[in-house]
């Protein structure tokens, strides 16, 4: 049945081809670059907005690392820059909390959710499944503009008198529910919640579109089992988002009621500054359940796109088929299901029933199984391959390295007994930064280096790319590896100054070292940003349609595809995406029909 659909589609298309070209000449600046409904332009909008947020979020970490690395020094220039938040060149404690909160919020949601899946789901889904655009280009455009609105509100919250939200990126009540509790719990917190509500709407609109497009708009011959792994990963990402973000929205709505309308969903028996509050009967733990029911799937929303893109890039640049395609899909599915069943491992020490805790330990440790399958398959894909060490490939390999390193410490933390000691220490910080933060950034960089030629018709500069990769991977390990030791020694997260504690004084030098490396790594990310914007206009031009010798459909489009992606008919697909090194041929594109004397095996 699906074949007849595509046939009709292509017949329809050839009939209207001329009209289509006519239409393009009338595009104005506004309709092409601002309120664009072209999925490729929307992807670029998400990417550039994400880059701006990444610079801000990264800069925040550099500023609070100054405090942690040099707690006894003052930096007069900080006062010029931050005003009363850094009186006398010393970061105020309230603003330190605001910085760590916004660093988390910005990087988790605005960069690694919107910037990562917003960019690559929009860009790759129609191109790799063979569709002219998303199922609903209009909703897709709205998705970006809701994200833009969320960005504007969050940005505004940085500039209000009492400062942005400062109760941690998890915004636990009662701290976040009571304006009297801290300066960051005043208007900054309301702006945070409203911005996140807009953000959730944006994610949902995007996710609905991604799922519908993947399931309904594939070209002729593109069966689900012929999809590149990028698409499978983006599909499961969207499913996770659509099912978990609404629950966070419920939590945010209840929190807004508690803050502004006097309800007590999360509040009970509270005394602030000697004043007894009337709120009674609420439960702060309830918020944690609602938050982490999103919060845990959220880490996979961040990670899965990176996994998918790395799988694709590893296979293309090893010149070998991906090892265990079906196992890769099945493990993505297993991760997607388990993601919903492990949220309470963030709450082991909240007084959770220990028996219930043991079930969550089991389910959490089960995630090691699909994760190990994926790692095994990535390594066996690399094994004896003809590896081309392009910057994209290096970042994809770096992703695998970081995923292994960070994943192993997850086995420690998933154990509720060990968690009594490790929770809220730098061990947790080290774990999630490596496995979710830096690893996903590596997946994102791999994707940017690999698909930049398709996005902008030019290449990124390779030399800058290699410097970017090596400094970032070495720097990331130098920053986060030592934090494991600090955490094992009990050094708590979120503290403003460790020099007052006899037990943590010995880490003074180490903290200084970490801060120094963090600044170097941040500077190298700026090099990447320079490379990115320089190459958009001045980079080496792409001269062939398929510069990487890849099999997937996006490389059958013109070098700079217009709205609609393919000039003539949408190509038909005859095989899976990973026929590399088959029958003595280096690569066989998905559009090549299966030959008569071709060997059967992939």
């Amino acid at each position: 049945m699906s074949s007849t659909i595509s046939l009709q589609e292509s017949v329809l298309h050839t009939g209207h081809a001329d009209e289509h070209h006519e239409h393009h000449h009338h595009e104005t600046f506004i309709s092409k670059y601002v309120f664009s409904q072209d999925h490729k332009m929307i992807a670029r909008q998400f990417l550039i907005t994400g880059i701006i947020w990444a610079i801000i979020g990264g800069l925040f970490s550099v500023i609070f690392r100054l405090q942690l690395g040099y707690p006894n020094q003052s930096f007069p220039w900080l006062e010029d820059f931050l005003g009363h938040w850094a009186k006398g060149g010393k970061l105020q404690p309230e603003f330190y909390y605001a910085l760590v909160t916004m660093h988390g919020t910005i990087l988790v949601f605005f960069v690694l959710t919107a910037g990562l899946s917003g960019t690559f789901a929009n860009f790759l889904i129609p191109l790799q499944i063979g569709a002219r655009d998303m199922a609903s280009p209009m909703l897709n455009m709205l998705s970006y503009w809701f994200f833009f609105l969320a960005s504007v509100i969050m940005m505004a919250s940085l500039f209000v008198q009492t400062g942005p939200a400062s109760g941690g990126w998890t915004v636990y009540p009662p701290l976040s529910a009571l304006g009297e509790a801290s300066s960051g719990s005043k208007i900054g917190m309301d702006l945070w919640l409203v911005s996140m509500a807009m953000f959730i709407v944006s994610s949902l609109l995007g996710g609905l579109n991604y799922i519908t497009t993947i399931l309904n708009m594939r070209t002729k011959g593109m069966t689900m089992t012929r999809l590149p792994l990028t698409i499978w990963a983006l599909f499961f990402t969207a499913v996770l988002g659509v099912l978990s973000f609404p629950v966070l929205l419920s939590g945010a709505i209840l929190l807004l009621f508690d803050r502004n309308l006097g309800t007590s969903f999360f509040l009970s028996d509270i005394v602030v500054a000697g004043k007894i509050l009337p709120n009674e009967g609420g439960s702060a733990i309830l918020f944690q359940h609602l938050f982490w029911f999103l919060g845990h799937p959220e880490v996979y929303i961040i990670l899965l796109p990176a996994m998918g893109m790395s799988s694709e890039i590893l296979s293309v640049n090893s010149r070998k088929p991906i090892f265990g395609y079906m196992a890769m899909v099945a493990s993505l599915f297993a991760i997607c299901v388990l993601a919903f069943l492990v949220w309470a491992h963030h709450m082991f020490v909240t007084g959770l029933n220990p028996f219930l805790g043991s079930i969550f330990v089991l389910l959490t440790l089960l995630i090691a199984v699909p994760s190990a399958i994926k790692v095994f398959n990535w390594l066996t894909t690399l094994w004896r391959g003809n590896i081309r060490f392009t910057p994209a490939m290096l970042f994809a390999i770096g992703f695998v390295s970081l995923f292994i390193s960070g994943g192993l410490t997850g086995i420690f933390l998933g154990n509720s007994a060990l968690d009594i000691h490790l929770h809220d220490t730098y061990f947790v910080i080290a774990h999630f930064h490596i496995v979710m933060g830096v690893a996903s950034f590596f997946g994102m960089f791999a994707g940017v280096y690999h698909w930049f030629p398709k996005m902008f018709g030019r290449y990124l500069n390779n030399t800058m790319g290699y410097i970017h990769f090596w400094v970032t991977i070495i720097g990331s390990y130098l920053i986060f590896w030592p934090m494991h030791y600090e955490g094992l020694a009990g050094m708590p997260r979120r503290y403003y100054d460790f020099s007052n504690w006899e037990s943590f004084k010995m880490f003074g030098g180490l903290n200084e070292f970490i801060s120094l490396v963090a600044m170097i790594v941040f500077a190298v990310q700026l090099l990447f940003v320079i490379n990115f914007f320089y190459s958009i206009w001045k980079g080496r031009r792409v001269t062939t349609e398929n510069p990487w010798g890849a099999n997937t459909l996006e490389w059958t489009t013109p070098i700079r595809p217009g709205h609609g992606n393919w000039k003539g008919e949408i190509p038909e697909v005859h095989r899976w995406a990973y026929d590399y090194g088959k029958d003595g041929k280096e690569f066989i594109t998905q559009t090549t029909p299966v030959g008569a004397d071709e060997s059967k095996d992939h």
Binding site: M1, T4, I5, Q8, E9, L12, H13, H16, E19, H20, H23, Q37, A131, R132, D133, M134, A135, S136, P137, M138, L139, L204, G207, L208, N209, I211, T212, T213, L215, N216, M217, V242, L243, S244, F245, P246, V247, L249, S250, G251, I253, L254, F257, L261, G262, T263, S264, F265, E280, G281, G282, S283, L286, H289, L290, F293, G564
Partner: protein, 193 residues
């Protein structure tokens, strides 16, 4: 975008589910998750101290009748549209719209009855839950009413005539959904209190 439209035309002819309808179904799944979050929070809270049981106002029962009836009218409207009985379609769409507004009005009356009897938003967490859950459902009905107003305006417009079944199908699916969601919430609030 015209590509998408052509695509859609082709798909419709094959009797396959229209992408927009599919999107609506996924969106409905997402709304269900939101209410699942709220109602499970309600269950957790109910098992803790300080829970107060209360009776639902009578107006909620009348509103249930209104929304059930509106599901019937919207079903008949889609049937009329398929038979190209446009006059009957327009009447039934208007009836659905009116019943939707009646539902909202009755809900507001119900809440004011509650408020007068001391069951206010802030008085107790159990009441707060009632207001938020039922209120959010009401917001989804208002969304449907806005869509119905737009559809009715289109139906009465002389300038443009549309015979695409997709929008009619979308609004009726959504309307049945908010109806079912209300029945679920009503049963939930009656059985777990």
């Amino acid at each position: 975008m015209e590509f998408g439209e052509m695509f859609n035309v082709a798909i419709q002819k094959q009797n396959k589910i229209h992408p927009h309808k599919f999107t609506l179904w996924v969106g409905i799944g997402s709304i269900i998750m939101m209410f699942a979050g709220l109602t499970s929070a309600y269950i957790v809270k109910r098992n803790q101290a300080n829970w107060v049981t209360f009776d639902l106002p009578v107006a909620f029962w009348y509103s249930t009748a209104a929304i059930l009836l509106s599901s019937l009218t919207v079903y008949l409207a889609t049937k009329a549209f398929k038979e190209r009985a446009m006059a009957r379609y327009r009447q039934l769409m208007l009836a659905t719209l009116l019943l939707g507004i009646v539902f909202i009005v009755l809900q507001i009356i119900g809440f004011s009855q509650l408020w007068k009897s001391g069951i206010t938003l802030q008085a107790n967490v159990s009441y707060s839950f009632l207001y938020v859950i039922v209120g959010l459902h009401g917001a989804h009905v208002v969304g449907g009413i806005i869509a119905l107003v737009l559809m009715s305006l289109k139906a009465f417009s002389i300038k443009t005539r549309t015979y695409s079944f997709v929008p009619v199908d979308l609004i009726s699916t959504y309307w049945h959904f908010v109806d079912l969601l209300w029945i679920y919430l009503l049963l939930f609030l009656l059985m777990i209190r």
